[in-house]
Symmetry: C2
Subunit: 298 residues, 2 copies
Amino acid sequence: MRSPVPLLDKITYYIVRRKGKQVRPMFVFLSAKLCGTISESSFIAASLVELLHTASLVHDDVVDDSYERRGIFSINALWKNKIAVLVGDFLFSRGMLLALENKQYQLLEIVSNAVKALSEGELLQIEKARRLDIKEDIYFEIIRQKTASLIASACSAGAASSTDDEKVIEKMRLFGEKIGIAFQIRDDLFDFGSEDVGKPLGIDIQEQKMTLPLIFALQQADRAERRKVFNIIKRHNKKPEKVKEVIDFVRNSGGLDYAREAMYRYRKEAFEILHTFSHSETRQSMEDLVTFVTERKR
Amino acid sequence: MRSPVPLLDKITYYIVRRKGKQVRPMFVFLSAKLCGTISESSFIAASLVELLHTASLVHDDVVDDSYERRGIFSINALWKNKIAVLVGDFLFSRGMLLALENKQYQLLEIVSNAVKALSEGELLQIEKARRLDIKEDIYFEIIRQKTASLIASACSAGAASSTDDEKVIEKMRLFGEKIGIAFQIRDDLFDFGSEDVGKPLGIDIQEQKMTLPLIFALQQADRAERRKVFNIIKRHNKKPEKVKEVIDFVRNSGGLDYAREAMYRYRKEAFEILHTFSHSETRQSMEDLVTFVTERKR
């Protein structure tokens, strides 16, 4: 990541210091080991996936106009939109070059498809957010593209680094996709205080993001109630007491239970795929990782 | 460019309708023909180079917070930062996939390097803009990276689509780099009204961008004058009459002549490279194209 541009060096140093849980590289390595032997290619895949994830977070800072990320000030707040876009572009191109220099063409195709799906998923979300009455199938389409695509690419890239069997690679992609969907539902649940995480609640409601617990609750509601909730989301989404009202509405309609069940269903499907591999320490580690990302408290 | 996301389809349709002069694809095709025969690969190279140029313009809309581009409202003004970042990312990944699907790996490496240089060049400019006393060599380094890199990649990608001779490909890269530098100096001259183009003047001064005419003029000035000009750029760069004062200062110091001479020097060096090819209709067309981009009135 070294660059002759000192400003860029400073920012990448700052990004590296503030790195997250790095679950995506873990998915790469465990997938690689599950399908064969960890190789030089697995390390390149792990680096590339984390790099693109980081680049997308940096761009997301522009996108969401958010001032905090991972508990500290975002690149955007510290250095403004201008720089965040450029640093994201730099990281993207750096990742591409890393793979090109190592002739990892299949890997490049896997992750380029993920980047494409990611931007399409976010744009679909923005488009649908204008109309609040989105249906479950659109919700699943959005999270499949914007979250699940990168975890799916981590798993299939890991597999591709240790096997040539296209069927196995596709199986791992599907496994990753299901985990990614479960992961995002878990994230969406946090917004309603499904766990006592001390995290501020109702951020998605403030940003008019329609998530599964809310979509389900609205489906159950009568017309008058639905109109009332839409009105809060459209016009009073910055008033904490109004947002609290929506959260209570979702909790009382069984929206959290419904979403939690959906999450477990996807996780179960993922485990079923995982169990087509024979028992091993690696398979157990993968199970533990999946349990971690779906049970995590923050 | 088709996408199942209607919002994205609408935006790409809008982008395609408002396409610019498309000089970069022309450089690709002329370079290809100069070094051999135009092939399927040349078309892919031309598409990819224009696609990345478009993606960088879309991201630039975020970057510069500019409200107009090519005479009409920018993506940013119409659809906001959020969307511009995502659309740019979509175009980048779409371009990468286009090349990957066609196994154009050398092309990918050429353009990925250009994208990397582009973001580094812009960041270097932002970094140096904080200190106004930048030197000529930094100016040339910035424009080499942020403008010349993409034109250099257009020429080398075109060459690589019709020959395997690495020396010829490198020669065309160098040719494109010199053209790109001349092209950017021409652009920087516009800001001082070197031609009567009816374009608003002093935009770069307002944005505290230090360009060659200004850098040269400041070099010639005495300490008092320099301090006065720095003061305007730092504190009064939004006042039209003050900006006019800087423009007059640059004009009276011979800054325009100096920059114009530098531009012609780079163009001459480019022509010298071009003349290592024997005379042909293609070589003449390339000369005409170079003359067009360096003599253009807007």
